[in-house]
């Protein structure tokens, strides 16, 4: 199947209702959902990410597109699981202990899904045990988010608890910097949502 232009545009423009309509129709008609995911939805989200990196779109458009993407994904996720769909790999994401902010974290999660990853979303206020448990479930990369300078230091605990295992840690969030990532020995830093996806790509050797 080739690209469904209407679906592709629907995600790019953040037209949630249009996306739901098209995806629901495909699910009802039992079209191969893996194809619409790979041929239309993932390319749309990747393109949005690249435009975001080039300052051609900003956070408002990104969030609105991501919301439309998520609406579409929710509809096809059961069918994907049933068909034994193979993702690019499993990763987990969470906001660190003591912090309840999750809008940025959620955007990164959708971008990752939109890039083809299986995402174990651990939610907010995640302690070290939560991240470790996800690694035990097969997560190859841990993405840690913090919005407060007061909660950011917990990332160091996450990094040191994971040391020695095969999993990598990528950190991000408003107060986080590359300097800080180096300082605590994180494997990567995402300066924005798209950058975080690129970082995961490179850590897992995925060519987008």
């Amino acid at each position: 199947m080739s690209k469904n232009q209407e679906l592709y545009d629907g995600i790019m423009k953040g037209n949630r209702n249009k996306v739901i309509e098209i995806v629901q129709k495909s699910v009802t008609e039992e079209v191969n959902v893996e194809e619409i995911l790979n041929d239309s939805m993932i390319p749309a989200m990747r393109e949005m990410g690249d435009r975001f990196s080039r300052n051609e779109v900003y956070v408002p458009e990104m969030l609105i597109a991501a919301r439309a993407m998520q609406a579409g994904l929710s509809l096809i996720e059961p069918a994907l699981t049933k068909s034994g769909h193979k993702s690019l790999g499993k990763v987990c994401i969470g906001t660190v202990k003591g912090d309840l902010h999750d809008i940025g974290k959620n955007l990164v999660a959708i971008m990752l899904k939109g890039a083809g990853y299986e995402v174990d979303d651990l939610g907010v206020n995640c302690d070290v045990e939560k991240f470790r448990a996800s690694v035990d479930r097969g997560s190859k990369v841990i993405l840690c988010s913090a919005l407060l300078t007061t909660t950011m230091p917990y990332m160091k605990d996450v990094v040191s608890s994971i040391k020695g295992s095969a999993a990598k840690v990528v950190i991000g969030g408003a107060p986080v910097t590359q300097d800080y990532a180096n300082q605590i020995g994180a494997d990567g830093y995402g300066s924005d949502a798209n950058d975080a996806v690129k970082m995961v790509d490179s850590l897992l050797g995925v060519k987008a």
Partner: protein, 561 residues
């Protein structure tokens, strides 16, 4: 050891620097009023210096500046790298002390019956995260005899509330430094100024009452705000003990006492307590809302006598932080902009001084006029063709190689600064995030209690920002609900008003204590609707067009013309 030759405005100094400390720390110790609002994390870029000669280290790399090729660098990230270093601190990196601060307030009916026996002088203090305002009161009559205000000098260390908490959590010494910045660098000079204006002596001030957010009150009293920074965001205490002026080193009478208004929770402080009292929202027959519009918009809903409160992290965008040509409300800051599709900007600045930056109220005007005139679309993006046609287009490449489209407001030769004044698409994004946080907080708080905007009988807005913005524009960009525009009441600096009542009206002071336990704190981040409401509110005026019928009707009328 290196020798530093520093130039900053009229100041010229040569000093020896020993040990490995960032240049920014050294400059601050040397008395240069450097703005390090991100606490020296290297993220805000406000403490930039120009190295004109000599070498310095940045990220372990050595850089060499020569007179023909000076280098710009954030001073918190660089270290002296040779024997001598010549540097200039531009005025834009200094912390401006001439900020316009609102010291007016509206009060409900009150009586003069001071809780303390003082008959000489009293001082009522509002400690804001950004600004501090004080009124001096004649305790025989209750009359305000002078007013004074200044920026909170803690800004030089950290900008917003959370970075202030982080800074204060860096050990006892850091906490003491912040306490000294608020008391010795901010409040004491103001007390002297107040007394000078009133021809009185600071030793006559027997009583001080303080209102402020929980973090500010903690630091003022030397209490660690650390626990407010992480879940469950609980302060060390809600009720503060009466303190002696002497132990706080306040410029007051030796026997003077200090009363601090209690806090509701980590993010709803004494300023919210007095806001609830002054707005009288509890007396309202139906539902009423109180919002203190600031970097942390405290929002309280009163619904059939029950109180619900939350804080929305709007961030400091409207204080000029994170905006390329952003400025606090200082003389020369553009405070009003008006234009149509001709893009002939009608601009006014604070005190009519030559334009040097853009403050929050003007950014709201810019968004509103921009959207109305078709310059900015509903996603906050420029109509580049229009910009180019009117010769207002400007673009530049950021350090990360991204092209940023901008609208030129004023070229370099007309502006009183070293660069042209412009608004970028990234600035618009920051402003949209800030306005969306406020609107989403209102909507989420109401819907979590099963209320609709239309059911609110009055919307009380506190704070200097609310006082100076064009309310109609704030509504048309979707920061405040359109359906409440006729129901808005401006309270001015209600925090200062509350401190005044604590000083002069014992009934009011008693009521403050009884309000503390009443509001139920709502954690917006735990309500799923908040994210949806926030994303909806990022658009101009909102994703849900039906919430802004008048704004869009006016817009359509323009298009049809």
């Amino acid at each position: 050891m290196s020798v530093l030759h520093i130039k900053c405005g009229n100041i010229s100094k040569s000093l020896e620097i020993t040990g490995e400390i960032p240049i920014s720390k050294f400059l601050q110790k040397a008395g240069i009023p450097l703005d390090t609002r991100c606490s020296g994390n290297g993220t805000c870029g406000k403490c930039e210096v120009i190295v004109t000669k000599g070498s310095f280290l940045r990220d372990g790399k050595l850089f060499q500046a020569v007179e023909e090729k000076p280098l710009r660098a954030p001073s918190c990230k660089i270290f002296a790298g040779g024997d001598e270093l010549d540097l200039t601190v531009p005025s834009s990196s200094c912390f401006d002390t001439g900020v316009r601060i609102c010291d007016e307030f509206m009060l409900p009916e009150h009586r003069f019956a001071p809780p303390s026996g003082t008959t000489t002088l009293g001082a009522a203090v509002d400690i804001g995260t950004t600004t501090v305002a004080i009124v001096l009161v004649d305790m025989k009559t209750g009359e305000v005899i002078s007013r004074a205000s200044a920026p909170n000098h803690q800004i030089s260390v950290a900008d917003d509330v959370t970075s202030r908490i982080s800074a204060a959590s860096g050990g006892l010494e850091m906490l003491k430094e912040l306490q000294s910045l608020i008391i010795e660098s901010t409040i004491n000079p103001l007390l002297h100024e107040l007394c000078r204006k009133a021809r009185r002596k600071v030793s006559e001030i027997e009583r001080m009452t303080v209102s402020g957010n929980t973090v500010m009150c903690h630091i003022f009293l030397g209490l660690s705000p650390e626990t407010i920074g992480v879940l469950p965001f609980k302060p060390l205490m809600n009720f503060y003990p009466e303190t002696s002026a002497k132990s706080l080193k306040l410029s007051m009478s030796e026997s003077g006492t200090v009363d601090t208004i209690p806090s509701i929770s980590g993010y709803l402080g004494g300023d919210a307590v007095v806001g609830i009292y002054i707005s009288r929202i509890m007396k309202s027959a139906k539902s009423a809302l109180f919002i203190d519009l600031g970097t942390n918009a405290e929002t309280v809903l009163c619904d059939s006598g029950k109180l619900f409160g939350c804080a929305a992290a709007a961030g400091p965008a409207f204080e000029g932080s994170g905006i390329l040509c952003g400025s606090r409300a200082v003389a020369g800051a553009i405070e009003r902009i008006h234009f149509d599709s001709s893009l002939d900007f009608n601009i006014s600045t604070i005190e009519n001084a030559p334009p040097s930056g853009i403050c929050g109220s003007a950014i709201i005007d810019f968004l509103a006029c921009g959207f109305r005139s078709g310059l900015i679309n509903e996603m906050g993006r420029f109509n580049i063709e229009l910009l180019k046609k009117k010769n207002r287009y400007y673009s530049f490449t950021t350090s990360t190689n991204r092209i940023t489209h901008s609208c030129l407001l004023m070229d370099k030769k007309n502006a009183a600064c070293e660069y042209p004044l412009m608004i970028t698409e990234a600035d618009i994004e920051s402003a949209l995030k800030a306005k969306a946080a406020v609107y989403a907080a209102i909507k989420t708080l109401l819907s979590s209690k099963g209320r609709r905007m239309e059911e609110i009988s009055q919307l009380f807005l506190a704070g200097g920002f609310a006082r100076y913005i064009n309310i109609e524009n704030a509504v048309s960009i979707g920061m405040l609900p359109e359906c409440l525009i006729e129901k808005i009441v401006l309270l001015g600096n209600s925090s200062l008003g509350g401190a005044y009542l604590a000083l002069t009206d014992s009934d009011a002071r008693e009521s403050f204590d009884s309000i503390v336990g009443k509001p139920e704190t709502v954690s917006l981040n735990l309500i799923p609707d908040f994210e949806t409401n926030f994303i909806d509110a990022l658009m101009l005026p909102n994703f849900n067009k039906e919430e802004f019928p008048m704004t869009l009707k006016n817009l359509n009328a323009r298009i049809l013309q």
